[in-house]
Subunit: 322 residues, 2 copies
């Protein structure tokens, strides 16, 4: 009744922002991402007869009530699906800073889902694991399959899952993450999703998302960095524009974020294969190729306001470690 699973964080090229169904966490638009190798959560779940309630350790420290409650609600979904009546001890470790624009909830809920199901002896398809992970955190659905991943909106719980569109080896993209701040953000992405519709721009963002997704996938399939860069930056700008025009407005960009974004555009105009994208946080994900990754890492590290750099090639899917 005990299992350990590992899942990678992921970075979206075409973003998820806002839900069509809050309770089921059905997204307003489809999204596409790559998993981040080495940026991972490892989670152990042990179902036990002697527990009165679920417990949660994060990085070897007891988690606060809010995080524990969120994990307990996710375990409820696993219990309901597998007919388990037990409570669990959950222990989770991230090897990257939480709450600062690197999706810790994505890898966390993917690893939690796979560990909890495995510990209970469940044999579920990747598709179903993705659906369950989605209930914990939308982007966690994309950390279940490996490589380049699309999450389709779906109209029911069973239809809203992520699947691989290209394996890791298809294209050697690298995410060079400029860490601007490792502090927790004031408004988390989960809360932020609920404000999306308060922006006059969300409807237009959603209306164009499928077209951007198709353009992104076409560029990905053809390994066409120029077209890829244009649509990835456009989509990131569009999401942050929605955030900044929500009520109340959400500003995730910090001054150093602008420094990096500006540099990335300049470097691309100089011939390097690089583009930026930002999640709900100040850190700038600089997407590049294996060929240009050393140069980009060197240049990003030298920028003012960048605390450190994290480098991740394309990662695999969530796996049971034992």
């Amino acid at each position: 009744m005990k299992a350990t699973a590992q899942a990678h964080s992921n970075i979206a090229f075409i973003k998820y922002w806002g839900n069509a169904d809050e309770a089921l966490r059905l997204p307003a638009n489809p999204s596409i991402s790559m998993n981040l190798a080495g940026v991972e959560t490892v989670t152990t779940v042990e179902w036990r007869e002697d527990l009165g309630q679920d417990t949660l350790m994060i990085n070897d420290a007891p988690a606060d009530a809010k995080a524990t409650e969120r994990v307990a609600r996710h375990l409820d979904a696993v219990r309901a699906r597998l007919g388990v009546a037990l409570k669990a001890n959950v222990s989770s470790r991230n090897n990257f800073p939480m709450g600062a624009g690197i999706a810790s909830s994505a890898s966390s809920f993917a690893a939690l889902t796979v560990a909890a199901v495995s510990a209970a002896g469940g044999q579920l398809s990747e598709r179903e694991l993705s659906c369950i992970a989605r209930l914990g955190s939308g982007s966690a659905s994309r950390s279940i399959p490996g490589g380049y991943v699309e999450w389709q909106t779906g109209e029911t719980h069973e239809e809203s899952f992520a699947f691989q569109v290209a394996p890791e080896a298809h294209w050697d993209l690298v995410d060079v993450v400029a860490i601007i701040s490792t502090g927790h953000k004031e408004v988390g992405s989960r809360e932020g999703h609920g404000t999306a519709l308060s922006s006059d721009y969300q409807a237009a963002r959603v209306a164009g998302a499928t077209d951007r997704l198709e353009r992104c996938k076409a560029a990905l399939f053809e390994r066409d960095f120029g077209r890829f860069a244009a649509v990835v930056e456009q989509d990131s700008n569009m999401m942050h524009a929605v955030m900044m025009t929500s009520q109340p407005p959400l500003f995730y960009w910090q001054p150093a974020s602008l420094v990096v974004m500006d540099a990335v555009r300049r470097w691309r105009s100089e011939g390097l294969s690089v583009c930026y994208t930002l999640d709900a946080g100040p850190n700038v994900h600089c997407l590049t190729t294996a060929q240009d990754a050393d140069e980009i890492e060197r240049r990003v590290t030298a920028l003012s306001g960048v605390q450190r750099v994290l480098r991740a090639p394309v990662g695999g899917g969530a796996v049971v470690l034992g």
Copy 2:
């Protein structure tokens, strides 16, 4: 056949971005602004029999061909209206940095219009002067009347003019401009207007503009700073969101702009009457009241990245000096 006129720059609370008619410069949406006392252009126009072409001096130096041509086209409009066949020597002086988010074209074309008409002996109404100034630069229409000014869209040349909605003395607002950069911007606002429709968000921005304008006017009439601040910052964010999602994207914010914007929001939450708005440039206009202006000026001056501060109370309309 010679006259000198003075006009003030203005700062829009609800912004003009994009034209419904490019040739006539009919704006996509109505806008509202205040004139900036002390931030001014003084222009002398002399119609002469002995000139083969119009000439232009800016701040005592011959202007480049592009600026001279733009002024000559504007003089064409005055010649056509008044039946003048002469060419003119034009000499213009600004007492503030050009091309960095403080609308030099607004005060310049307002002063040029008034001086050119006066030098030709024309007696035109404020309304008609505003229409003509608009042809040179949209926001120049708002530098003709004094105080707080609205520019209605109109569907013809004669209908698209600005008018005073409240006199200078109605409310003692002060614009404390944080000068981030005095360099010329890469993409001028005139060129930028043409890209507005390439953003998926422009239609939604325009659709809501009249509502924001009415909310802004109501707050202005009632001197309700809290409501004024909310709609002014929202409108600025919405315009910059359109700019950043245009193709190609236009980024006017610099890192120090974000520093000031963030500080302004924090100061307001501490109880000061202050809000921000940015035109097509990096400088941040911190709108405040006479009561809080000293404190705001002190705080803005101390922020990192602010080169200097310019302070302007509400200004009057364009006038003939002699």
